[in-house]
């Protein structure tokens, strides 16, 4: 087939999924050279889910801050949660990255009562 007779076609694929509300779930680990800073991330989710997220800034070689859902802090003390996030997060994050993390906390309680 000569070029003049060519028949161009475009193939379109679509992927439809539900928009996450908010677009981040529980935690964002923000590198200190990341294109979006913690304040921008917080303002973004504050517009969609007001007052639900907090910024924890930190002195770290490459992690600038952690933006986390405030609800998590009612289940686990902040210092323990941050320590855990950092231990896992710094294994994969770098200064340029923003890592999205989901965290499930289950509190096991076992109590005895007088009969």
């Amino acid at each position: 087939m000569s070029p003049a007779e060519s028949n161009k076609k475009a193939e379109v694929t679509m992927r439809l999924s539900e928009f996450e509300m908010p677009p981040m779930q529980d935690i964002l680990i923000v590198g200190n050279k990341a294109p979006i800073g913690p304040e921008a991330a917080k303002r973004m989710v504050d517009v969609l889910s007001p007052d639900q997220y907090a910024i924890v800034k930190m002195e770290h070689p490459f992690i600038e801050a952690i933006v986390l859902r405030k609800g998590l802090l009612s289940m686990l003390p902040q210092e323990k949660l941050i320590k855990l996030i950092l231990e896992e997060g710094e294994k994969i994050a770098n200064a340029q990255m923003i890592i999205k993390a989901q965290i499930n906390i289950t509190v096991h309680v076992s109590r005895s009562v007088d009969l």
Binding site: A34, I36, P38, E39
Partner: protein
Amino acid sequence: MHTVASICTQDYLAVSPLDGVRKIQTLVSEKGMICCLVRENDHIQGMLTLKDLLNAHPNRIAADVMTTELPMLPPATPLWQAQEIMDTLQAEVVLVREEKELQGILTRTRLAQELGKHTDLLTGLYKSDFLYYQGCNLLAEGQEISIIFLDINNFGEIDKTYGHTKGDLILTEVGQLLKTVIPDHAYLCRFGGDEFVILLAAYLPESIHLAQHLGQAFASHPFPFGITVSVSTGIVGGRRSQSRPDNPLNMITNLINRASLESTKAKKIDSHISVLDAVEIHDIA
């Protein structure tokens, strides 16, 4: 005394916390600024310096890059004190602010430019404004002070005999000699012409001892072209009293004036040192 109110500028750039770094970099570059303020609803939230902008990802917003600990100075801050504070804070820019009202910003470059006017180009020593500022500080701290006023003997003759350029070299040499001889807690300035002033945070006996030491230093120092240089020294010691408060600047001015008159008297004395004891210094309320 000169204060930061007279040299701060209101010609500054203000951006929104949501403005992007790339946009701010362009604005700052176009306007030739070295910093900009981050303002939201008439409230200053932070400041961005060139260093902040250079180190930031261009996609970031001002709120994520700005410095939020803003160094501030009241408008009445003397220039010398502003320099001390900016050195301590390692600040390139400070806000000049009275309570909540922003009067302007002051950059280190502008301050250095202004302080340069108070530095004597020939000797490299500070001019008298520096001494007035330090004197006021010492009085405010409740320190004893004394003033040593030095006047080079027959300097006019040196100029006439050897020429003014050689006279200038002598002045430079005198400045260097004084710098090396005075103690750490003394402040030195070239007051004008062939006159130098030393402010000492000390009682009179220490000033007299220093003046005698200076006399020996001049006698033994090999000045250029074999010229013999000596000085007449007037010394005034302050005596603290609690009678009434006064303006510290007036007090320092008065002490320097008295010391200058003593240096004139000293020219007719063999030792070339004349001392006026116990000028009353009123405590500052």
